[in-house]
Every structure is written in structure tokens, then in C-alpha cells.
Amino acid sequence: MTITLDSIVENQKAKVVSISGGWGIRQRLGCLGIHPGDIITVRKSAIMRGPILISVHGNQVALGRGVARKIIVEVE
């Protein structure tokens, strides 16, 4: 089942399927180790539809809600 990253709950793992944003966002996410195929764990979700905190390849990244919505993931 594919959903967007912003709808994943805390401490759940997901695999990136694709990134629906444009060139800039793909490149910037790629730099931080987020490509199709990578496994992401959602660590924290801020209140008031704030950003989410994920960990990927042993590293923590904060993603704004709008950015997270552009990452399409798959949960087992």
C-alpha cells in the first residue's frame, strides 16, 4: 500500500517509493540520503501540523509537512 510520508505514525518504518516534487526537492532530499528504495523511520511529529522528524541511514532529518506530503512511501 502506498501512502504519503506525512500520514505515517511515530516509530513506524516505511520504504520510499518515489518523490513527487520537482528537481530541487528531489536533489535536496537525495543529498540527505532520501532516495527511492531507502528505509525511513518516523521519529516524531510536531504539533499543529508542524514538521516530522525522521531517521534515515542513522541520521535525523526534519521535514516540513508539505515536503513530507511529496514523499510517497510503502509500509509493510
Binding site: 537525495g30 504539533i47 542513522g58 521535514l63 508539505g66
Partner: protein
């Protein structure tokens, strides 16, 4: 020889740089604090060597201004050796930049920094194997402790002498095929000589659709452009993804493979500092801690400053009447001497006691890695004023000094965001204005009143942000921010950083302060200050209800914000401000000084970063705001 430090943000380049240069570059624990390059010259085996600390960059396909600066510097092509600094605890991700740097075919050394942190995380790296893979020497280091730095530079020297270039590692066969075909096309074009970089590197940038390199051709729409599009389409068809995704996935897979072949994983060792996020980033406790941390922070500064301010002020103001006994108080020389003493006193007794604890505390928070957490917590709120979480970093730095705050807006991606953040940053009370709030409002009215000033200031900034984002309606790109691991701050580094920032006050502001107070003494002696005060009286006296003598102080305040307060004390002729001004007047004066016209240094940096028109807009906007707010204060407070 010219050596450049290049690496991903927060990998420790500036820390290595400072080992060689002394503390010259500001280091902190958040990605993107170095926005301009810093240079130093040092002696390496009897040779004068230049070392450049470049802003951190995640890849050579760059986005923000700081990253572009780093890339431009490298592409200019006069660097002899590149030191690729890697945070060893983030090896797999960092190798992607290393692969790109190798494509440039420059002599290179790889520095595995924070090797202790990597081991703590259970990552054990086979150094020799890694060095073989890249055909470049690899030196492990712990830069904060100075470990491995000597070895690093002796290796760099050797590599530079021998001009030793690392291996280029190939992608999958079909991708390589496309790259070499495109490279061959580039070769024929003499026009490419202007870049002076390997064809393969350029071909890759074209396939990655890099804006900087593509712009040239998109407009001209010439032969080569059509060929580039042709090859981009080949990759797109064979892989079912955009060509830039194909290239970045190739690089990603290569780095993952290299990572897996050189690393053996063991059980990570968790220390208590790793659990800090359970509180500091908690959806509820996080905000309580945020409020508490900043409340305690300002209380401590005020507590520490007050202990020192009172006795020192007493001492200095007993000194002037003493001099008056030996020199006639009505002479010119007495005016000059008392002007100099008041300038000295202002620096020692009023500014330094608050400035030092503030800058030291800020340094500790920065080095711990708290600022990116604040960005996470406040992202949703910043969206309400049309910005995103990262903008909090320039804002927090703004409490120290507005100049680095405006420089730090470079970490924001869009020009509009940088403009709004710059204007708002000028309204944040910097350390100079903090001394005014503390020494006038907190000291003469109450610490609670000072807190109210800070809270009101934030409210005004929020409203201004809303107005500006209405004027420039554009959706801010979302936040993508790395949250680095916490580091236990080193007292030594924090003190060095505090000193670096205080130097600015001691060597630039203080002499200005002494000269300024002497000039004011002379103006008073020749009664020339009356003209200036008369000129400003419609504003100061009529509208704001302040003593007429504050007119001159406002001019000095444009030079340096703290001057306006110190000049005020001199202008009214007593250190006991409360004897001459009412609480309302003190409050009105403070509010006006916080907002009106940014200081000269800020105007200069604004001019450079956002241009003349927008700088004039900022000056007008803040002046109008200051007049309105101060008038309200006069009648309401």
C-alpha cells in the same frame, strides 16, 4: 600551495581550520553556519600555504547561496589540494560528495573526522580499504581534540607535491555509455574551455539538469543543448525515471556499496545525551523546555550583569567629581577628560557585564546543537508568518548581533524568504539593544518589565512578518533540515567563540564609544548640542514626551545601538537615569531605540545581501514602526 577544506555541512571543517588559524571561523553545531569562505596563511614544511574554509555543501549540484559559493571556488581551479572532511558517523551519505569531488580530478585527501563518534555509534571503518577504493589517502581525526590534524596536513602536503589524483569510480555500464557519449560531444565544443573542468564532470552536471550549467544553453537552444536533452531522454527511457534521479541513484548505490565493503557494524553505545530529544523535542515538553531555557538564559545574564554593573558604575561616577577638584569643571580639558572616562565606563560597567554572559550562553546552546531543534519546534509557527523553521536560526543569532543574522539568512532557499527574514532580523534586539533593555528597563523599572519588552518585540515581529508575507504572497519551500547529534560543548571552544565575537565590541565599538562621548562633551561645551536637540524636538519632546536632550543620542545610536543609551546617561548628566526620567519615558525611549533605523554595520550588510532599494524600504519600515510603537507606549504605559 593552496589547500581547500570541503565537505558536507557540520562535518568539522571550521574546527580543523581553527586548529591551524587560531580561533578565526565561528563553529557551531548546526548545518550551514559557514556562509562565506575564510582564508588563512600558515607555514607547512617551510612553505607558505593558504588554507580555505569553504561553506559546507551536501553535493556539487548546489542550491543555496552558501553552497554555490563553495562550488564556484573549487571550479575556479586554482586549488592545489582538496581536503574532503567527512563526519565518519555519517559515512554512507558523505561518500556521495566524495564521489563527486573525485570527478573533478583534483589532488585529494579524505579526512574521517569524528571517528570517535562513529565508533560510539558502532561504525568501524577499514581505513586502508577505503583509501584503496578511492586511490586517495584517508586520515582519521578527532578535530575538536586536535587528534590527527598534523598527519592530515603532512599528507595533504605530500599529495599536493606529487599532484596525486584519486580514482574515478564508474557507474553501471549503460549509464557510463551515455556519459562517455555526451563527454565526446562536449570535447568538440571549444566553448567549454571556459569552465576548465573535466568533460565527464560537465557531462554529469548536464545529465543532472544542473541549473547553473544548463542556463547557458537553455536560452541559446543550440546544438549541444539538443544533444543534452537527447541523452537525458535516453536515460529517462531506459530507467523509467528522470535523468537526474538516475544519476543520483547511481551515486547513492555506489556509496552504499563502498560503505558496506569498508564498514563493520557493532552494537552502538548509547549515552544519556541521546535521550535528551525525548524531552527537548517532545510535542508538549519540548515547548515547555524551550520557554524555560530562554527564560533561565535571560535571567542568568541579568543576574550576572547586575552584580558587576552597580559597583562599577558607582566607582566611575565617583571618579569624575574627584577630577573636578583638581581641574576646573568649566574648562575644555575637563570636558574632554570626563568624556573619555564616561566612554570607558560605558564599555566596562554597562556593556561588558551583559555582553559576555550572553555571548557565552549563546555559544553553549549553539555547540550543543539546540538551534536546529528550535527550528523543528517552531516550524509550524513560522509558517504563519510566511517562513519556515530554518528561519529561526538567523533569528536566534540576531539576539547576538544583527550582522551575522542577516548573513545566516543565506541558508534559506528562496529570495523572498531571505528578504522577509532579513527585515525581521533587524527588529530583533541584538546584544547591544539587550544592554539597553537590561541596563535601563530591567535595572530602573523591573526585570518583569524587561521580559514584557521582549514578548512585545516578538509580537511586533510576528505582525510585521504577516504584513510582509501578505505583500509578497509566495509559498515558502518546505523545510528540509538535518538535525545533528548533540555534542557536549567544550568550554574552551565556547570561550574562544565568545572572545571572537566580543572582539568586535572591544576593538570597533568601544573606541567609537569613547570618541563619541568625547564629541558629545565637546558639543555640550560649545553648546552645539542644543541645535541638534532642537531639530529633533518635534519627535522627541512633542510626540514622544522625552527630555529634549535625547535628540543627539539618537544620532549616535545609528552608529552603534548601545551608544544611544550611553550617550543618554551623559546627556542627562547623571548615571541615575530614574532621577531625571520617569518610568514611562524610560520605556518609550527603549522601545524607540529597539526599532528605529538599523545600525550602520547592519545597513551595510543589508545593502550587500538584499540590495539598495530593499535596504531603504527596511529603514523606512523600521522608522515608521518605531515612531508608532513609541507613541503608543508613551500614552499606554
Amino acid at each position: 600551495m593552496k589547500i581547500a577544506l570541503m565537505g558536507q555541512p557540520n562535518s568539522g571543517k571550521s574546527t580543523i581550520f581553527n586548529h591551524v588559524a587560531g580561533y578565526k571561523a565561528v563553529t557551531s553545531n548546526f548545518p550551514g553556519k559557514t556562509v562565506e569562505y575564510t582564508l588563512t596563511k600558515f607555514n607547512l614544511f617551510g612553505q607558505v600555504t593558504e588554507l580555505v574554509d569553504l561553506p559546507g555543501t551536501y553535493s556539487l549540484t548546489s542550491f543555496d547561496l552558501a553552497e554555490l559559493e563553495a562550488r564556484k571556488y573549487l571550479l575556479k581551479g586554482n586549488v592545489d589540494v582538496v581536503i574532503n572532511v567527512i563526519d565518519a558517523s555519517l559515512l554512507s551519505r558523505s561518500l556521495e560528495l566524495t564521489l563527486q569531488l573525485l570527478e573533478l580530478k583534483l589532488p585529494m585527501v579524505i579526512c574521517l573526522n569524528m571517528i570517535d563518534e562513529a565508533e560510539r555509534k558502532g561504525i568501524k571503518i577499514d581505513i586502508e580499504k577505503l583509501s584503496k577504493v578511492f586511490g586517495a589517502p584517508v586520515v582519521p581525526a578527532v578535530a575538536v581534540k586536535g587528534k590527527g590534524i598534523k598527519k592530515l596536513f603532512s599528507t595533504a602536503y605530500e599529495v599536493g607535491e606529487k599532484k596525486r589524483i584519486g580514482k574515478t569510480i564508474n557507474f553501471s555500464k549503460d549509464v557510463e555509455e551515455v556519459i562517455s557519449q555526451l563527454s565526446a560531444q562536449i570535447k568538440k565544443k571549444q566553448i567549454e574551455q571556459e569552465f576548465n573542468i573535466p568533460e565527464r564532470f560537465l557531462a554529469l552536471k548536464y545529465l543532472e539538469n544542473d541549473r547553473y550549467f544548463m542556463e547557458n544553453y537553455e536560452r541559446k537552444s543550440n546544438d549541444l543543448f539538443k544533444k543534452i536533452v537527447h541523452f537525458q531522454n535516453i536515460l529517462k527511457e531506459t530507467h523509467g525515471r528522470q535523468s537526474d534521479v538516475v544519476i543520483s541513484s547511481e551515486r547513492h548505490h555506489l556509496s552504499m556499496n563502498i560503505y558496506e565493503s569498508v564498514v563493520s557494524l557493532t552494537k552502538p553505545y548509547k549515552s544519556t545525551i541521546d535521550y535528551l530529544d525525548n524531552i527537548l523535542m517532545h510535542p508538549f515538553l519540548g515547548y515547555i523546555s524551550l520557554g524555560l531555557i530562554f527564560y533561565l538564559f535571560f535571567n542568568l545574564i541579568f543576574g550576572a550583569g547586575k552584580i558587576v554593573e552597580e559597583p562599577l558604575l558607582d566607582y566611575f561616577y565617583r571618579l569624575i567629581p574627584l577630577i573636578g577638584k583638581s581641574i576646573n569643571p568649566n574648562t575644555l580639558s575637563f570636558s574632554i577628560i570626563s568624556g573619555i572616562i564616561q566612554g570607558l565606563a560605558g564599555g566596562i560597567a554597562i556593556v561588558l557585564p551583559y555582553l559576555f554572559p550572553f555571548l557565552f550562553g549563546l555559544a553553549i546552546l549553539e555547540d550543543l546543537g539546540y538551534l536546529p531543534r528550535v527550528a523543528f519546534l517552531l516550524d509550524a509557527f513560522l509558517h504563519k508568518i510566511g517562513l519556515h523553521g530554518k528561519a529561526i536560526i538567523p533569528f536566534v543569532l540576531g539576539y547576538g548581533c544583527t550582522v551575522p543574522a542577516i548573513m545566516a539568512t543565506r541558508i534559506l532557499e528562496s529570495e523572498r524568504d531571505r528578504f522577509i527574514a532579513s527585515v525581521l532580523a533587524t527588529m530583533i534586539p541584538c546584544a547591544a539593544r539587550m544592554t539597553i533593555i537590561f541596563a535601563l528597563v530591567a535595572f530602573y523599572i523591573s526585570p518583569q518589565a524587561a521580559l514584557v519588552v521582549y514578548i512585545l518585540n516578538i509580537i511586533v515581529i510576528i505582525i510585521s512578518g504577516k504584513i510582509l508575507s501578505r505583500l509578497l504572497p509566495e509559498i515558502t519551500p518546505g523545510m528540509i533540515l538535518e538535525i545533528p547529534a548533540y555534542h557536549i560543548p567544550s568550554i574552551k571552544v565556547a570561550l574562544a567563540k565568545t572572545w571572537l565575537r566580543m572582539k568586535e565590541f572591544i576593538f570597533i565599538a568601544w573606541p567609537l564609544l569613547i570618541v563619541g562621548s568625547t564629541i558629545l562633551s565637546l558639543l555640550q561645551y560649545y553648546k552645539a548640542d542644543n541645535y541638534i536637540n532642537q531639530f529633533f524636538s518635534p519627535l522627541t519632546s512633542f510626540l514622544l514626551g522625552l527630555p529634549i536632550v535625547v535628540g543627539t543620542t539618537l544620532i549616535f545610536g545609528i552608529l552603534r545601538k548601545e551608544l544611544s543609551m550611553l550617550m543618554l546617561i551623559q546627556a542627562i548628566g547623571t548615571s541615575n537615569v530614574a532621577a531625571v526620567m520617569s518610568a514611562t519615558q524610560i520605556m518609550t525611549f527603549t522601545i524607540f531605540v529597539i526599532f528605529y533605523v538599523p545600525c550602520v554595520a547592519t545597513i551595510a550588510v543589508l545593502w550587500r545581501e538584499i540590495g539598495s532599494k530593499r535596504t531603504f524600504f527596511t529603514i523606512a519600515f523600521t522608522s515608521i514602526l518605531a515612531i508608532i510603537l513609541a507613541t503608543i507606549t508613551r500614552f499606554v504605559y
